[in-house]
């Protein structure tokens, strides 16, 4: 079993504008209007870098910044794991369109922004963290994969770690072959169990079989409908537990027939 203390949370998505307001929505005390909101300007990037980042990278950086602020830790002291099902769909489609023309001109900025690790790359530049950072995917299971990787690294290194998962739709025509639905991102700062000042305790087991009797879907219909398409929505049931402040067990599908079993509890 792997475990951690959650020191900070960040979330952005339709109707979810930062953890403090979103937790009211996720536990049912406020209604979900499904509206999007402007994102704060990314911190610690130069004006030139701010111009270069795409809306989805900005989304990832905003939840990362929120979770780290809540943890009160120095971002330069945090390694990071970014999970992103498909990378930056706007940039990838733009390059595919450029390559289908006779000129095949790819702009240098688009090319270096096309790498899957573009979000974590800008995060390290902004946070001045030289610690290990990575960018991973497991398609729709990207949150499960990133959570497992982050917890294993936490186990190995015994120091807090930043976990971010982000997903956003492709433009058409890629949207038709790979629908994602909404833009959403979630971040956690995870620390060794027993760290003081945490929001909650989290335990995770890689399960030997499917446990269909355990709850796994988000409660709000808007998000439940996106369970099979949006990789960030996979983190919402955990957010709901944290918003309710309840102990509980969740099933998070991972792979062809596996599961992560997540247990939440008070610190």
């Amino acid at each position: 079993m792997l475990s951690a203390t959650i020191l900070g949370v960040g979330v952005r998505g339709p109707g979810l504008h930062g953890w403090s307001a979103a937790s009211e929505v996720l536990c049912g005390r406020s209604s979900c209007d499904g509206a999007s909101a402007d994102l704060p300007a990314p911190e610690n990037l130069s004006a030139r870098e701010r111009r270069r980042i795409s809306p989805t990278v900005r989304l990832a950086l905003s939840v990362a910044g929120e979770a780290v602020r809540q943890s009160a830790l120095d971002p330069a002291g945090l390694p990071s794991v970014f999970g992103w099902p498909h990378g930056d769909g706007d940039i990838i489609q733009k390059i595919l369109e450029e390559l289908s023309t006779a000129e095949r001109y790819v702009s240098p900025m688009d090319f270096h922004n096309s790498v899957h690790n573009v979000a974590v790359g800008y995060w390290t530049i902004g946070s001045k963290s030289h610690l290990p950072c990575t960018s991973i995917t497991a398609g729709i299971d990207s949150f499960a994969a990133a959570l497992l990787k982050a917890l294993a690294q936490l186990w190995a290194e015994e120091r807090p770690i930043l976990l971010v998962v982000v997903d956003a739709p492709f433009p058409e025509p890629l949207n038709s072959v790979c629908p994602v639905g909404i833009e959403a991102a979630v971040a956690f700062v995870l620390a060794p169990t027993g760290t003081v000042g945490g929001l909650a305790r989290l335990e995770v087991i890689w399960s030997d079989g499917v446990s269909p009797d355990l709850p796994s879907l988000p409660q709000l219909p808007l998000y439940r409908d996106l369970w099979e398409t949006n990789g960030a929505v996979r983190a919402f049931p955990l957010l709901e537990r944290l918003a309710h402040g309840e102990e509980g067990t969740l099933r998070l599908p991972f792979g062809r027939s596996g599961d992560l079993v997540l247990r939440t509890g008070r610190c």
Binding site: F111, V115, H116, T124, S135, W155, C178, G255
Partner: protein, 396 residues
């Protein structure tokens, strides 16, 4: 850290299919790079193309994954008895106790390029036979390899540009150490596509001739392709090819597409790998450089290596032989280090004519016989993502 046994390894690169062809190429200091004849790419550059990939097809049940990238992966699974070795591990541990952690920078995006070229001119729609999930999607590679090997453990795709398939070794060690799995298939694949050829061209980083890492006249990279795998086992009693002795990862936190000018992130990754392996710099016998052949990379890496190991460290870049396999470079060069330890050779720096006189490292121009105990491989990627791996020789 406790050294991790590597019980099987395979490789496919411009030097050929399997470890034996690769070692023969390294011994002969042969370059697999040739003038770019990749499909209809109109670029004055050289490429490290894998022979036989066009003629290879996946077994019929994997038709949904059919693309150049997964074909390369399949060739590497067939090579060096790798798939049989994994079948043995499945018997020992069970399919659910073996993780699959693979690196790729562009997966099967070539299929997306074909699909965009065939869009419906009236509606802009992609052709109905485009299978995004099994080809272009980043995770398609790992899903294919898991299905092909019958593995049901955690499947993770790492995509950190040119360090992707090096960092997978660190991830696997952590998952095994945490008790999530008993063994892991690591590695990766990257294949020629227009995105990387034209993208690096727009950054003016393509060499017009075959790349010459460490050379005073170096002028950029030759894009290659490749695939490879390693089987890592936590508590195996069986024989090992070599050991993963340590790893180090770092971030430059400097720039998205340029390395830190003094190689600070690279230095940090190498020092961390040494610390984790419990080794002093003098105990590493050979260093396989990231050595892309760009002015900036080779200069900053040389400075970083010299600060960690002192001047005169025995080094080479093998990218003149294989081309730069991008996201697969980590596993191709891991395979080169494993082969170097087993065969007792220091690979040469293929295509070197005159080493940059400002460099402090001892760049080996030709392959040489040498008994090696530890070899270090560097992999650095866009976004400032660095990884150093130290491999140790298996006891005779």
């Amino acid at each position: 850290m406790k050294p991790v046994k590597i019980t099987a390894a395979s490789v496919v690169s411009a030097l050929g299919t399997g470890m034996t062809e690769m070692v023969a190429g390294l011994r002969a200091n042969r370059s697999g790079c040739r003038p770019c004849d990749y499909e209809d790419a109109q670029l004055t550059t050289y490429i490290g193309c894998v022979d036989g990939v066009e003629g290879h097809t996946l077994p019929a049940e994997f038709a949904a994954f059919e693309c150049r990238n997964n074909r390369l992966a399949d060739m590497a699974l067939n090579a060096d008895g790798f798939d049989l070795a994994v079948a043995g591990a499945v018997e020992r541990y069970g399919a659910r106790r073996i993780a699959t952690i693979l690196g790729t920078s562009t997966s099967g995006i070539r299929e997306g390029e074909y699909a965009f070229a065939r869009r419906d001119p009236a509606t802009g729609k992609l052709p109905a036979d485009f299978r995004f999930a099994g080809t272009q999607a980043y995770h398609a590679l790992t899903r294919f390899v898991q299905a092909r090997l019958g593995l049901d453990g955690p499947g993770i795709t790492v995509s950190t540009a040119c360090s992707s398939s090096a960092k997978v070794f660190a991830d696997a060690q952590q998952l095994m150490d945490a008790g999530i799995c008993d063994a892991a298939v690591v590695g990766g694949a990257d294949s020629l596509c227009l995105l990387t050829l034209y993208g690096f061209n727009s950054l003016q980083l393509l060499s017009e001739s075959a790349c010459r890492p460490n050379d005073v006249s170096r002028s950029g990279i030759s894009i290659g392709e490749g695939a490879g795998f390693a089987l890592l086992e936590r508590d195996s009693d069986g024989p090992a090819l070599a050991f993963l002795a340590g790893y180090g990862e770092s971030a430059d936190a400097h720039h998205m597409s340029a390395p830190h000018p003094e190689g600070l992130g690279a230095e940090r990754a190498m020092r961390e790998a040494l610390a984790r392996a419990g080794l002093l710099p003098g105990q590493v016998d050979y260093l396989n450089q990231h050595g892309t052949g760009t002015r900036q990379n080779d200069q900053s890496e040389d400075a970083a290596v010299a600060r960690v190991f002192g001047s005169g460290m025995r080094c080479s870049s093998t990218k003149g032989a294989t081309g730069h396999a991008l996201g697969a470079a980590g596993i191709v060069e891991a395979a080169i280090c494993i082969a170097a330890l087993r065969e007792g050779i220091v690979p040469g720096n293929t295509n070197l004519i005159e080493c940059d006189p400002a460099f402090l490292c001892r760049v080996e121009p030709e392959a040489a016989d040498a008994e090696l105990r530890y070899a270090l491989s560097n992999s650095f990627g866009f976004g400032g993502s660095n990884c150093s791996l130290i491999f140790g020789a298996a006891p005779c």
